[in-house]
Symmetry: C2
Subunit: 328 residues, 2 copies
């Protein structure tokens, strides 16, 4: 199996690459090569197979062809400009999120054998807001440019699958918590920060009320879903290549209770209320919940962890590295 | 009012331009200029205001900026590669239907005042097939590249409206009958041909069964909808810029009965059954019906004509010109 991860230097790309390196196989077959591609070449990775690390612009056709060489079986396309950044810089969002996906489509189409493409779309491609519990056939009516660009990417890859140019699985990722590292430009950055920063012994701000519900998943489960999507039988999906995976709908208050259960009341006290209408305006349009029936019962995507497991998972997987990275 | 019609040389573009020329005003304001743009420069049009006729590639940014000069109040974007052609030539469809709409977006965004943009999307952007009666919030899951490119165009213009770059109304046109001229490369070409060809005294073929239902509208009503969309208050639309206008669901059998009622049994006898699985595969995924509640009850789009009126309208508006054009 020859694999390419676009956005391979990012949070989820690195976790997926690490998991592939540890396992050495995918779907029972030996991995024969891995290409990690990002804006800057990702750092070298120790693995029982050759790993190429490339840097470049995902919207540049020639560069992307280099990252997806002949013989590629699976492309995981995680490269994106995140929500608040795509909202602040429309042109950059279009360049990376739309023209990047077009370049990926064309590179895959040029291969002798159509590769599996796992594309990360997002809950941000839907509207509905807090009260919504969206069915699998819910319409994507994005309230932000990032979500619009992701919905467009899904349409492109769905049609390319129908044409036989590639074989796509478009996973609409929930808000992934707990992200390691620093706060970023995603509008949903706070959902990780209210758990991560207290675990680092730092104060942080909550821009929404405690009864605000978020559709979440853990990094461990997101990687499990990628691995599943990389080898699953796409036949039962038919025309519809979009997946609402089994996330969890959790209020901010429940997340803080899980933090307190694992790390004590002092950790929870690190979180101060600081309403931010700009952030609330973006995340407030995202649906609070999905049924995820198709992913669960037809397509075999695994269930979500508990909130306590998610906090514990961050402590086990990412706390030390985040401390080191941030000099804490 | 300064108006641009992209695709101004096509069937509906010419009808809309003729109507504007006859009326001289739009929404109670004098028309001060009209630009007609198409692949080949449309023929000159007599009008009580200046008319520019330009030819060029709708995907070329500089050309499109020329077609949408500063001071443009309304852009009607009809330029497209039609369904069967976009299916046969994927790259051409992407170039015109996707990159063309991107060029329109960028040209409008560069104007000092955001223009109204009326974009023709299509029933082909939906799935559901014969049994479907789609609600206004139905998901667009296209079963053909044309429909995918139209759904993408809607997302682009909806997001650009939210950003304030322009002010879009995306009309998902039903199959427009009766098209004048010759059969074309649209998969739905037969729906016009089974009425037009007999009225011209010619034999024609029906590729689907007589109980096959099509969501249709007349050219007169399509032009009425464009005029309404060019000046309507878009406030009540909110985020959702997509319109399912009040078409009519009609079986091919009912259409042939209307033909017989207006033109006699000899006309109907000109239609031979000739099943075509390739055509049926494309049009068979298009929904047979829509509720169109929002367009009717909230947004003031006018109701459809009867099938007999549609046949009569073709005889009055287009029969003589079609005869002349085809040397009949």
């Amino acid at each position: 199996m020859q694999i390419t991860i676009l956005g391979g230097g990012g949070f989820l790309g690195r976790k997926l690459a690490g998991r592939l390196a540890r396992e050495g196989t995918l779907g029972g077959k030996a991995i024969t090569g891995l290409t990690l591609f990002d804006l800057q070449a990702p750092p070298a990775l120790e693995a029982p197979f050759p790993v190429r690390c490339l840097g470049g612009d995902v919207a540049d056709a020639a560069t992307v062809r280099q990252a997806i060489p002949a013989g590629t079986d699976v492309v995981v396309h995680l490269a994106a400009v995140v929500s608040a950044q795509a909202e602040a810089d429309f042109d950059l969002g279009m360049q990376v999120n739309l023209h990047g996906t077009l370049a990926v489509l064309q590179a895959c189409r040029a291969l002798p054998k159509p590769p599996r493409v796992v594309f990360t779309s997002s809950v941000a491609s839907f509207s509905g807001g807090q009260e919504a519990r969206l069915e699998d056939d819910a319409r994507q009516l994005p309230g932000n440019s990032y979500g619009a660009q992701k919905a467009i990417g899904e349409l492109l890859l769905q049609d390319a699958s129908r044409k036989g140019f590639l074989d796509a699985v478009n996973i609409r990722l929930p808000t992934v918590i707990i992200r390691p590292g620093r706060p970023n430009k995603a509008a949903s950055s706070f959902v990780s920060a209210i758990l991560r920063e207290p675990l680092l012994g730092l104060d942080t701000e909550l821009p929404v009320p405690e009864d605000f519900a978020v559709w979440i998943c853990s990094p461990r489960r997101a990687v499990d879903w990628f691995l599943h999507a990389m080898t699953m039988d796409t036949g039962p999906m038919g025309l519809d290549r979009g997946i609402n995976p089994p996330g969890r709908s959790a209020t901010v208050g429940k997340m803080l209770s899980a933090l307190e259960a694992v790390a004590g009341p002092a950790a929870r006290a690190r979180v101060q209320h600081a309403p931010d209408p700009a952030i609330a305006a973006i995340v407030g349009t995202w649906p609070g919940s999905f049924t995820a029936d198709r992913a669960r019962h037809l397509l075999g995507f695994s269930e979500q962890e508990s909130l306590e497991q998610i906090v514990q998972g961050f402590i086990e997987d990412d706390l030390a590295a985040t401390r080191a990275e941030r000099g804490l």
